[in-house]
Amino acid sequence: MSTSNSNSITPAEVAALARLAGIQLSEAEQAALAPQIAGFSAAVGQLRVPLETEPAPIFVAGGKGASK
């Protein structure tokens, strides 16, 4: 995905993302979501973890039939 700079996302890019996700967005929604997504992406980019960290399991309790 190209952006005009690392901290901004254009409405056209939002529209492209939405098409990939199967979501219909009006032009007004594209314009409204662009800064929100840019801000959100910048914030998530600040989530720092050690390189060797693996994702937590989606289900943290240990899975079907797991015992403690």
Partner: protein, 464 residues
Amino acid sequence: MSLEELCQASVAEVAELYRKGEVSPVEMTRTVLDKIERQEPTLNAYTLITRERALAEARIAEVRLRRGEADSLLCGIPIALKDIFDVEGLPMTCASGVLKGRYISARTATVAKRLAATGAVMVGKNNLMEFAYGETHPDFGHTRNPWDLERSTAGSSTGSAATVAARQAFAAIGTDTGGSIRLPAAYCGLVGLKPSYGLVSRHGLAPLSWGLDNVGPLTRTARDAAIVLKAIAGYDPDDPTSLNQSVPDYLQAIEGSLKGLRVGLVAHELTPTMDPEVRDLVRQAVTVIQSLGAEVVEVSIPGLDQAVLAMMTILMAEASTYHREYLQERPEGYSQAVRERLKMGALVPAVHYLQAQRYRATFCEGVNRVLEQVDVLVMPTSPFPANRLADEDPGRDLTPLVRPTAPFNLSGHPALSVLCGFTGGGLPAGLEIVGRPYADATVLQVAHQFQQATEFHKRMPPNA
């Protein structure tokens, strides 16, 4: 004591009167239903009141009690269920236009089955924020707080909290993805327990976020929460996240003394920007706990700010995945605010979702390290008392509200809110108690011992 006055009693107290044959479950249920129907135009706590079904269940409970066949204190006790659980043959709306008038459940949620097996009487299904996603659908409207009708109950278990606070149902079952049991409990002056992830089955729950959703009780006392938890906890093969281990005797565990218990006050959450009255009430509550023999130390939880962001990332992606088909086929059924949230969540990249899950792993380790030093953590459930409904803007940023609660959905630890006092304006404040993984009994024990030493839970809201 009249039946109307008995609505103020606890589950344990009513169960004892049932056992002695001094009160009829049928008459108690009828009284509760009358009270609900009388107050419903004001509180808006229900999407469905199941009068005939409830009275039929109460008659069965009465026979069980008479024959000495009741094996739970919940037998004959009127309870309510958030309208996000399936109950076979009943409509489920999730307080959304997407399902309203279109969905009748073909199965029953495990939690509802387990409660029914005890003989508990379901009086209805509670209003909530739309699909538990932080906004009220205009077709369903706000539930009003019995302590002040102009104020919010918080959410998303809005009706569940209001009905218990208003002395209608004796307990209600809610769900908690980022604080949706604990925050309404704090705003409405109740005990609200988010159990350890995996302890209570989610089967039959319309999910908001598979990895963050929890099912738990809202009650007026910690003892009642222990009674309900005992009934609903335990392995369920229908829930792939269910933990296969025995359920402890919570009722026995909560009677233990706090002497020697190590309590970690999360001091950095007592911020200068929080409501000063709530801050004072939390400090006073900690002093009470200390006076009961607990050793209190100040601790900090690393990465709390970013835990909320990670939780929101997971929540957004999972909610939008679940709602993908509804969003494509019935977008007009959602409120505008939830529809926008779901659209935004559909655009969360996979790398963000996985980075949030990586953060989750490190955050869990960090919380566990703190909990190696202390038995429980305590902090405010909410930095503020209930806000005015008029001040709630649809689509508002929920991050500040869920900051004290959402991190423990991310980590999976048991967390409970207990009423710890009232502001000068008569609004409740909540103390959050967080325990080690699967040490739900310990958080209930701290809350119970606190209630044994205080009287806050005995105060009635003006609109009960």
